[in-house]
C-alpha cells in the first residue's frame, strides 16, 4: 500500500472517530441540563457535520493534493471546534454533571491532539501546506 493510500485510510478512520466522539458527547449531554445539550449540539454537531463532509470529500479525492486539501481543511475545523468544550466548561450558566463535562473534555482533548498530529502528518506525506 502506498503512503498516500495508507494516509487516506488513516484519515478516514480519524474522521470516523471524531464523528463518533462528538455524537457520544451530544448523547451524554442529554442526561444533563437542557442548556448543555444545546451547547454540545452546536459544538459537536458542527464538528460532526464537518467530519461527514470531509469523509465525502476524501472519497471523491482523485489526487494527492485533493486528499491533502480535504484532510487539512476538515482537521482544522475539527481542531477549532474541539476548543469549544474547554472554553465553555467553567461557565455556571451551562451547569451540568461532571460526567457530561468529562465526556466533553475527552472528546475535545482527543480531537484537538489527534488533529494537530494528523495535520503535521498530512503536511509531510502530501506536501500540501498547512495554510492551504
Amino acid at each position: 500500500m502506498s503512503d498516500i493510500a495508507k494516509l487516506k485510510k488513516n484519515i478516514n478512520l480519524v474522521f470516523l472517530i471524531f464523528l463518533v466522539l462528538n455524537l457520544v458527547a451530544i448523547a451524554i449531554s442529554a442526561t444533563g441540563s437542557i442548556r448543555t445539550l444545546y451547547l454540545f449540539a452546536i459544538i459537536g454537531g458542527m464538528a460532526a457535520i464537518v467530519s461527514v463532509f470531509s469523509l465525502i470529500r476524501l472519497s471523491l479525492a482523485a489526487s494527492t493534493t485533493m486528499v491533502g486539501r480535504a484532510a487539512m481543511q476538515g482537521l482544522w475545523v475539527n481542531c477549532s471546534m474541539a476548543l469549544g468544550y474547554f472554553l465553555t466548561a467553567p461557565s455556571s450558566y451551562f451547569a451540568s454533571s461532571a460526567i457530561v463535562w468529562g465526556v466533553g473534555f475527552i472528546a475535545g482533548g482527543v480531537v484537538f491532539v489527534v488533529s494537530i498530529y494528523m495535520l503535521i502528518m498530512v503536511r509531510r506525506t502530501t506536501g500540501v501546506p498547512l495554510s492551504i
Partner: protein
C-alpha cells in the same frame, strides 16, 4: 492606462509578493481566502460597531440597515477582490494602473497605509478595553498596559506573513463564530427572550443613511483592499464570492448580535458578557483570538502599502515598525481617551466617506473602461506588470473622481441627503468615466509623466 506589456518578470525582494505578480506556488484555496476574510471580521470592533447601531435603531431597523450596508460592501468588494484574483497583485499595484504611480500613493495613503495603522491602534485599544472588563483589578489588564502587550502579540503574528495569518484564522474563526452565537443565545435567554429584543427601543433614532454609511465605513478599508487577500484565491470569482458571503451573511449577523446586546443589556462587550456567566478563560481566549486574527491583517495590509510607496525594507522590518507605532498610539489613546467611544464613531463615519470612492474608480477602470472602451475582453490581460512596464505618474480623471466623490460623500452626510456612501461611489464612477471616456476617444492626453517599473517591482 498607459502601461505597456512587461518585458520580464520582477523579483520579489520585499516579501509576500508586495510588488510582484503572485507566483502559482503561493495560490491558495477559496476556503483559505474565505477564512482569512472571516478572521478579519471576527473582531471585538464589530461588536462595538453593532452596538453603535444599537444606540440609533431598534432591532428590526438594525437588521435592515446592516443588511443594506453589507450588501453594498458585498457587491463592491466582490468586484474588487475579483480584480485581485485576475491580476494577482496587491491593491497598491492595482491602483498604480488606474491612478498612476503618484496617484496610487495618494490613494493608498487614504485607503490602507494610514487608516490600517489607525485600525491597528483601535483594535489594540479595544483589546485593552476587553481585558480591563474581564480582569478589572489586575494591573496587567488595565487598558493602557494590555494595549502594549496585546499590540506586541498581534505584531508577532503578522511578522510571519500570510501563511501564519491564514493558519491562525483556520483554527480561530469557526469556534469564534460559534461562541458569538452561543453568547447571543445566552443573553436572549436571560434577558426576556426575543419579545424583549424586538420591543426594545434606543434612546434616540438616527437616520437610515447615517446608519448605512457607518456600516460601510467600519469595513470600507477592508473592502477596498480586498485584493490583498483575494489575489491568493485559486479562482478569481471565488475570491469575490468569499468576500461577498462573509460580509453579507456573517457581518450582518455580527452587527445584529451586537446591536441586540446593546438594546438588551446596554453593553456591547461580548467578552464581558462571557466573563459575567463564568467563562473567564473563554472570554480571554475569545478576545485575544478576535483581535489577533484581525489586527495581523491590518498590519500586514499596511506593510504591503508602505513597502509599495517607499520601495525599501522587508516584511519583518515594516511589521515591527508599523506595529510599534500602532501599539504606542493605542497606549496613548488609552491614556487620553480611556474608554470613550466618540473617536471610534467619528473615525468609522469618515472612512465611509473617503475610502469607497477609491474602490469606485478601481471598479470603473477595470470592469468598464478597460473592458468596453479599450476592448480588453480577457480580464487577465487588463493589467500587466513586470520590469519595464510603463505607468503614468498621475491619471487626472481618477484623482479628481476620488477627491470629489469623497468630498461629496462627506458633504451629503452633513446635510443627510440620501445614502452618503452610495453618493460617493456613484459620483466617483460617473466623474471618472465621464472624463476618461470622452478624453480618450477625443485623443486628449489626460495623464502626466511616466514611471518605468524596475526589476524589484518598484
Amino acid at each position: 492606462m498607459s502601461e505597456e506589456k512587461s518585458s520580464s518578470e520582477s523579483k520579489d525582494v520585499f516579501g509576500d509578493s508586495a510588488l510582484t505578480v503572485l507566483p502559482k506556488s503561493e495560490i491558495r484555496s477559496t476556503l483559505n481566502v474565505f477564512f482569512v476574510y472571516m478572521g478579519v471580521l471576527a473582531v471585538m470592533a464589530a461588536f462595538w460597531a453593532g452596538s453603535t447601531l444599537g444606540t440609533m435603531f431598534d432591532a428590526t431597523t438594525i437588521l435592515y440597515v446592516t443588511l443594506i450596508g453589507d450588501v453594498i460592501l458585498g457587491v463592491f468588494g466582490f468586484f474588487i477582490a475579483t480584480i485581485g484574483g485576475y491580476a494577482r497583485v496587491t491593491t497598491y499595484m492595482i491602483t498604480r494602473q488606474c491612478f498612476g504611480k503618484v496617484g496610487s500613493i495618494i490613494a493608498n495613503l487614504m485607503v490602507s497605509a494610514v487608516p490600517l495603522i489607525i485600525w491597528f491602534a483601535v483594535e489594540t485599544w479595544f483589546f485593552g478595553m476587553v481585558m480591563t472588563t474581564i480582569f478589572p483589578d489586575a494591573w496587567w489588564a488595565s487598558i493602557a498596559i494590555a494595549s502594549l502587550w496585546g499590540g506586541a502579540l498581534m505584531t508577532l503574528a503578522s511578522f510571519f506573513g500570510y501563511k501564519v495569518i491564514s493558519s491562525i484564522s483556520y483554527i480561530t474563526v469557526p469556534i469564534w463564530f460559534v461562541l458569538a452565537l452561543v453568547i447571543f443565545a445566552v443573553v436572549i435567554d436571560t434577558r426576556g427572550g426575543l419579545t424583549a429584543l424586538f420591543s426594545a427601543v434606543p434612546p434616540t433614532y438616527g437616520t437610515i443613511g447615517a446608519g448605512i454609511t457607518f456600516t460601510v465605513g467600519v469595513y470600507a478599508a477592508g473592502c477596498v483592499t480586498a485584493s490583498d487577500v483575494g489575489r491568493y484565491g485559486e479562482k478569481p470569482w471565488g475570491s469575490g464570492l468569499a468576500w461577498a458571503i462573509q460580509v453579507i451573511v456573517f457581518m450582518t449577523l455580527m452587527l445584529f448580535i451586537a446591536g441586540s446586546l446593546m438594546l438588551l443589556t446596554g453593553n456591547p462587550n461580548v467578552a464581558g458578557a462571557m466573563a459575567a456567566i463564568g467563562m473567564g478563560l473563554g472570554a480571554l481566549f475569545f478576545a485575544l483570538l478576535a483581535q489577533v486574527t484581525t489586527n495581523d491583517v491590518n498590519l500586514w495590509g499596511s506593510y504591503l502599502s508602505w513597502v509599495s510607496i517607499i520601495g525599501k525594507g522587508k516584511r519583518g522590518v515594516w511589521t515591527i515598525v508599523i506595529g510599534a507605532i500602532g501599539t504606542v498610539a493605542a497606549y496613548l489613546w488609552a491614556t487620553v481617551a480611556g474608554a470613550s467611544m466618540a473617536m471610534f464613531m467619528n473615525f468609522g463615519g469618515l472612512l465611509g466617506n473617503f475610502i469607497p470612492p477609491v474602490g469606485a474608480v478601481m471598479i470603473a477602470d477595470f470592469w468598464i473602461f478597460r473592458r468596453y472602451v479599450l476592448g480588453i475582453k480577457d480580464p487577465r490581460q487588463r493589467y500587466q506588470y513586470g520590469r519595464g512596464t510603463k505607468y503614468s505618474l498621475v491619471n487626472w480623471p481618477a484623482i479628481l473622481a476620488m477627491l470629489i466623490g469623497g468630498g461629496l460623500s462627506y458633504y451629503t452626510s452633513m446635510i443627510n441627503f440620501f445614502v452618503p456612501v452610495l453618493n460617493g461611489i456613484i459620483i466617483s464612477m460617473v466623474i471618472y468615466l465621464g472624463l476618461a471616456i470622452p478624453l480618450h476617444k477625443g485623443g486628449v492626453k489626460y495623464e502626466s509623466g511616466t514611471w518605468v517599473e524596475r526589476e524589484t517591482g518598484f
